[in-house]
Amino acid sequence: MAGEGFVAPHIDYAGLAPLIALTVGFVVILMSGVFTTTKRWAPGLAVLTLAATAGLLLWKWDDDISLVTGALRVDDLAISISLIAVLSAFTTILLSVRERAADEAGHGEYYALLIGSVLGMVLLAEADNLVTFFVALETLSIPLYILCATNLRREGSLESGLKYLIVGSLGSATLLYGMAFIYGSTGSTDFTGIAHGIEAKGMLHDPLLLIGIALAAVGLAFKTSIAPFHQWTPDVYQGAPTPITSFMAVATKAAAFAVFIRFFVVALGPEVSDWQTGLAILAAISIVVGNVGALAQTSLKRLLGYSGVAQAGYMLGGLVVATEKGVSSLIFYLAIYLFMNLAAFAVIVARERETIFGDDIRGVRGLGAERPALAWPLTISMLALAGLPATAGFIGKLYLIEALVEGNYLWLAIFIVGGTMISLGYYLRVIAAMWMTSSEETASAGAQPIIAGASPEADPIDPEAGRRWYLVAPAILTAAITIFFGVIPQPLVEFATHAGASLF
C-alpha cells in the first residue's frame, strides 16, 4: 500500500456550511446558558446564527449538489424552504422578546432549542434518503416538543408539549413503519434508488409498497396537520407559547411539505397514479374539516390552527397533481403562508400581553379604533388567508387552482373554492370584531385572565405591548409584504417556479 497513502473522503464543506453554522450556533447558545447574563445575548446569538445561515443558503442558490454520498441534496427547493424556516425563526425571536416562556425555561435553552429545530428543518428540506429523512424529522420535532412546554407555570403549555410529544411520536412511528415497507419492497434507502427500484421491478400496484406509501403519507399528514390526522393541532397551538405556535404553524409545515414533495415526487414518482387519488381525498377532507372546525372557535390560536388544517389541504393540492406547476404553486403558497400567518401571530402576541383576554377573539374587539397599527396587519392577514384579491393570498389560490385545473383535478379546485367560502365565516368574524364592534365592552369584562391555567401574577399585563417595536414592526412588515406580493407577485412567482423546477 506504499505510495497510495490514506485518502480522506471528499467533504463539500461549502454545501454543508448552513448546517455547520446552525450546529455551531446551537452549541454556542446552549453553552452560553451557563452564564447569568445570557438573557441579553442569547437572542442576539440566535439572530446572528440565522443571519449567517441565510447568507450561506443564498450563496448556494442555483446550485444542485449532492452531499454525503447522496444523503443530502442542496437544490433550490431545499434552499427556498430553508429560507422560509429561517425567516420564521427570526420572527419568532422578535416575538419572544420579554416572553415569559423564555424566562422560565432559561434563555440559553430556549433559543438553542429553536436553532436546533431550524437545523432539523434545513436538514429535512435537503434530505434525499430515508435515513436522513427520519433523523432530520426527529431533530426538528424533539426541540419543538420541549419548546411547547416551556411556559412552565401554565397548565395548557405543559399539556400542549405532552400532547405534541405523544401524537408526534405516533406520527414518526407510522412513518418509520412505512419507510420499512418501502425499503423492504424496493431495496434502497436513496430516494432516486427507490424510484429506480420501482421502475426496474415494475412494482406498480405492488401491495407491500402501497402499504408503505400509505403509512408514510399518514406519518407526513400528522406533521403537516392534514385531516383526519390533525386533532393535535388546535390543542397544541393553543397551549404552546404564542411565538412558538407561530414557528410551528409556518416553519414546521414548510419543512414537512418540503420532504413530502421530495419523497413523493422523486422517490415515489413512478407510482404517481397510485397515490394521487389518495392524497387528493386527504386534501379534500382537510379542507372541509379545517374550515368547518374553525367556524366555532373563539380562541384565535385555535382558529388559526384549524385554518392551518384547511390551508394544508389547499397546499396538498399542489402535490396531488405532481406537476412542475403544482410543486411551484405549493412553494409559492408556503412562502406567502409565512407572511400571512406571522402578521396575525405578531398581533396575537401583542394583544395577549396587553389585555386580559389572552388569545380570545374578545381581545381584538375595537382594535381598529384603538390600535390601527395592529388592526391593519391582522385585517390584511385575514383577508389574505381568505384569498381576497390585492393580497398575496389571492395569487396563491390562483396559482394552485391553475395547477389543479391543468392537472385535471377540477373537482379539487372546486373544493378549494368551497372551502374558501366557508372560511369567510370565521376570517371575517375576526375582522368584524376589530372594526365593527367597539372596545367599550373590553373594559366591562371580568378582570381574570382567561388563558387556561394562568394567573395574574404569572402573566403580568403590559399595557404598552401594542406599541413595542419588536411586535409592531414584524406585524406591519409581514402584512406589507403580503400586500406587496399581491400587487407585484412576479418576483415570488419566479422564485417558486425556479424552486419547483429543481425537481423536474
Binding site: 390562483l398 387552482i401 373554492v417 367560502m421
Partner: protein, 502 residues
Amino acid sequence: MINALLWVPLAFGVVGLFLPKKAVGWWATLGAVVTLVIGVIMAFEFENGAAGLQDTVHTMWISGLGVEYSLGIDGLNLFLVLLTAVLWIGGIAFAAFRQQDRPQLFFFLMLAAETATLGSFLSQDLLLFVLFFDLMLVPFYFLFGSWGVDRTAEGGPTAAQATLKMMIYTLIGSLLMLVGAIATAIVSAHGGHLNFSIEAIQKAGVPLSSQRWIFWFFAAAFLVKMPAFLVHGWMPDAYKAAPLPVLVVFSGVLAKVGAYGFLRVVLPLFPQATAQFQTVILLVALASILYGSVMAFTQTNVRLIAGYSSVAQLGFITAGIFALRADGSDGAILQMVNHGLVVAPLFIIVAILLERTGTEDLRSMGGMAMRAPVLAALFLIVALATLAMPGSANFIGEFYILNGLFDSKIVFACVAISGVAMSAYYALRLYIGTMHNRKPDGVASREISLRDGVILAPLVLCILGLALYPQLILHRADPSVQKSVAAVTEPSSSEEELAVSK
C-alpha cells in the same frame, strides 16, 4: 390616460388617510371630480362608430401564470365608466356634507371601491376582471359593516351580520367564476401557453362541452351580483344595513357590473352555451321582473322599495341582453345607465327624507311636497323616469329591450311588458306616499337644502339630458354591442372549424 382614470381615485384615497378630518371629505370629492374629468376627456377622444377597443394598455403582469394587466375602452363600458364617475361624486359629496365617523377611512374605502369598480369595467383580461370583480366587495364589506345601520331593535341582523351574508352570497358566485376563468384559459390554450386575454380566448374558442358548465359559473357570479330572483337573498338585509351615501353607488353601479359581465365575457366567450341557455336565463329575468315588482308594491320600507325595483329593472336589462339581438343589448346598455341615474338620486332623496322624518317607513311619511316644491319636483322627475314615461330615456331603453325581445321570443316580451306597467305603480306609490297626503306629526317639511340640491340637481339634469339625446349612448354602444351579439348569432369561421374538427 386609462391608467390615470383607474388609479386616480385610489391615489386620492391613500393621500386622504393622512389629511385632517375636516378636509378629507372635500379632498375625496375632488378626487371623484378629477376622475370624472378624465373620464369625460376620454369620452371626447372616443372614436365614434368603432367596434374595437380604444386607449388600450397591455403589460404582462404575472408571466408565469399568463395574467396580463390589460385595459381598454369601447362602446360597452364607456358610459358605464362615466356613470361610475358621476355617481361616486354624488355619493362622496353627499357624505362629505355630513359628519362621518372616522372620515379618513370612510373616504379611503369609498375611493378604493371606485377604483375596483372602474377596474372591473375596464379590464380586458379575464383574470384581471375576476380580480377586480372580487376586489369590489372588500371596501363595501367594511363600509356596510362599520358605518351601517344595526337592525337589532326591529329584530333584524346587525350591520356586520347582514354584510357577512352579502359577502358569502356574492363570493360564492365570484369564486366559482375564478375557477371558470382559469378553466376557460386552459381549455382554450389547447396545451399551449396560458393567456387570459378576452380577445385571444375568443379567437381561440372554447370547446362546447366546456362552455356548458363554465357558462353557469359565470352566470352564477353575475346573477348574484345583480341580484336576480332566487339568488337575491342577501339584498334586503344588506340594503337595510348599508349607509345611504354608500348605497347610492352600490345600487347605482355594482348591480350593473353583473349585467355588463354578460355582455363583455359570457356572450363573446361562450356563444353556443349562451344560445343554448337563452331560455333559462330569460325565465330567471322574467321572474326577477315579476317578483321584484310585486315585492316593491308591498314593501313599506323605502329602501326596500327601491331595492326590489332594482331587482325588477335588472331583470329587464338581463332580458334585453338575452334577447340576443343588437336592439335588446343596445337598450340594455342605455337602461343600465338610466337605472343608475334614477336609483342614485332616489337613495339620496331617501336619505334626505330620513333626516326630515326620522323613519324609513312609507306609512309614516307624507305631505312633504307642501313646503318643499323643489324637492318634490326633482323627485317627480326621478319617479317619472323610473316608470319609463314616454319622453324619458328609460322609455327608449325599455322600448329597445322589448323590441329586441319581440324579435326573438315574443312570449317573453308579452310578459315583460307587464313589468313596465307595474313599474308605474310602485314608482308613483313611492312618490305619493312620501310627498302627497296629509303630513303626519313629527315630519318636518322643509325645502331641500342648497348643499343637497347641488348634488341632486346635476343628477336630475343628466336624466333630462339623456331623455333629450339618448343617441349619445346608443350610437357609441351599437358597434361594440353588434360585435358581442354577433359572436352568438353568427358563429365565426374559426368556431365552425372547431366544431368540424371535433
